[in-house]
């Protein structure tokens, strides 16, 4: 088939326009997630946690958390009698392999899962001197590995002890609320593997999200409210002994 200049140019023009359209369509598909439509947090029903450690193991598997470091962990509280100011807390290996069974029914005892609270006013973000730790437009506190200088200020600033220095990357590391999962419609790894549904991802900007009913009809607390961090991990029926 012989092509004259006019046909060639017309064909090339069509090709460019169509491939451009295809790419735009593909891009649209990949970036369909609109951060402005979400405001992420988490709800935790303390009365449902059984201390199995599934969340700790699941988080490590999903995010490649080095052993001995934790983006989430579980604490076992025991309040002996009237001495509620001094609860006994243990968290062997962060609860990675569950807890050695204890049979002390006379004391008040319960499990408390912990993770980054994704504070709306995060001390860690304020402390970072280089803009490596930031709050995303959808309310998740993230670390820019390429920008972090490993100064550890954020680790000291976090009132909840949710950060660590990654032993090989030498950058600050923490819970991302499974940002790579939640931005494609999945729940977090910890919520996915929690057998009792004690942990639930919450989208506070979604009016249909059960979080609103959860907040409205339960006895809900955040950790260390006096730190004015505006934490977004909401605990149902949290005991006053929990720090």
């Amino acid at each position: 088939m012989e092509l004259n200049r006019r046909q060639l140019l017309a064909g090339a023009g069509k090709f460019i326009i169509l491939s451009g359209a295809a790419r735009a369509a593909l891009d649209g598909d990949a970036s369909r997630y609109n951060a402005a439509e979400h405001w992420w947090g988490m709800t935790i029903d303390v009365g449902k946690c059984i201390g199995c450690g599934n969340c700790v193991r699941g988080c490590a598997a999903e995010n490649g958390v080095p052993r001995g470091y934790f983006r989430t962990w579980v604490e076992r509280y025991q309040v002996n009698g009237e001495d509620i100011e001094h609860p006994q807390v243990d968290s062997p290996d962060g609860g990675f392999n569950g807890f050695p069974p204890r049979h002390e029914a006379w004391a008040k005892s319960f499990f408390v899962p912990k993770l980054c609270n994704h504070c709306a006013d995060s001390p860690c973000v304020q402390a970072c001197p280089v803009g490596a730790t930031f709050d995303s437009p959808d309310g998740v506190i993230l670390v820019d590995e390429k920008y972090c200088v490993g100064c550890r200020y954020c680790i000291q600033a976090c009132p909840y002890g949710c950060r660590y220095l990654h032993p090989t990357k030498n950058t600050a590391d923490k819970c991302t609320l499974c940002y790579h999962r939640i931005t494609q419609g999945l729940t977090t790894a910890c919520a996915e593997v929690c057998p009792t549904g004690a942990r639930k991802l919450a989208d506070l900007k979604n009016p249909a999200d059960p979080v609103h009913e959860f907040l409205r009809s339960n006895n809900v607390q955040i950790l260390k409210p006096y730190m004015a961090t505006r934490a977004k991990v909401y605990y149902k029926d949290l005991d006053g002994a929990v720090r």
Partner: protein
């Protein structure tokens, strides 16, 4: 008179100083802008005091847990059994582990069956810290060493 020839001369002389100062300041501003352009990464400040591309870096991570919806696509029968029992709300990967690779290519990545001997007690070994209503046993007294799977179907545990 203020505008004597001498005073005009002085002003002209002083303005020469002024021009030099302005020139030096202009050079400094240009140097600052050039250095800033080189040093500050693209996308910094788009959403806030951070690199906007860092969001995509975090998102780029591959998923390990496929999520229960992915399992249902092939294992509908098991899911149906599970939904009839007390384990209806338990996600598949809560016991079977991360299986996104298996969901992507089931032939190349076979799932390994978990061992009921170690699996069940993770949740059901009695502990005074566990919620009162949660079914828990002291495994050594409960079955005397018999594997849980001998009596219970883990997908529908009621006997």
């Amino acid at each position: 008179m203020l505008c004597t020839a001498a005073s005009v001369k002085t002003i002209l002389k002083e303005s020469e100083h002024l021009i030099r100062l302005v020139l030096v300041a202009a050079i400094l501003v240009v140097v600052f802008l050039v250095v800033r352009n080189v040093v500050v990464p693209a996308g910094f400040g788009k959403y806030g005091h951070y690199r906007a591309e860092a969001l995509d870096d975090v998102r780029a991570r591959a998923v390990s847990f496929a999520g229960r919806q992915a399992c249902e696509a092939c294992h509908g029968e098991v899911v149906q059994t599970k939904n009839q029992g007390k384990h209806a709300q338990v996600g598949c990967e809560a016991c079977h582990g991360p299986l996104a690779a298996h969901a992507g290519d089931p032939i190349a990545n076979q799932a390994v069956k978990p061992d009921p001997a170690t699996l069940c007690v993770r949740c059901h070994e009695a502990d005074s810290a566990k919620p009162k209503g949660f079914p828990q046993v002291i495994s050594s007294e409960h079955a005397g060493g018999t594997s849980c799977g001998a009596c219970h179907n883990p997908h529908r545990p009621a006997i």
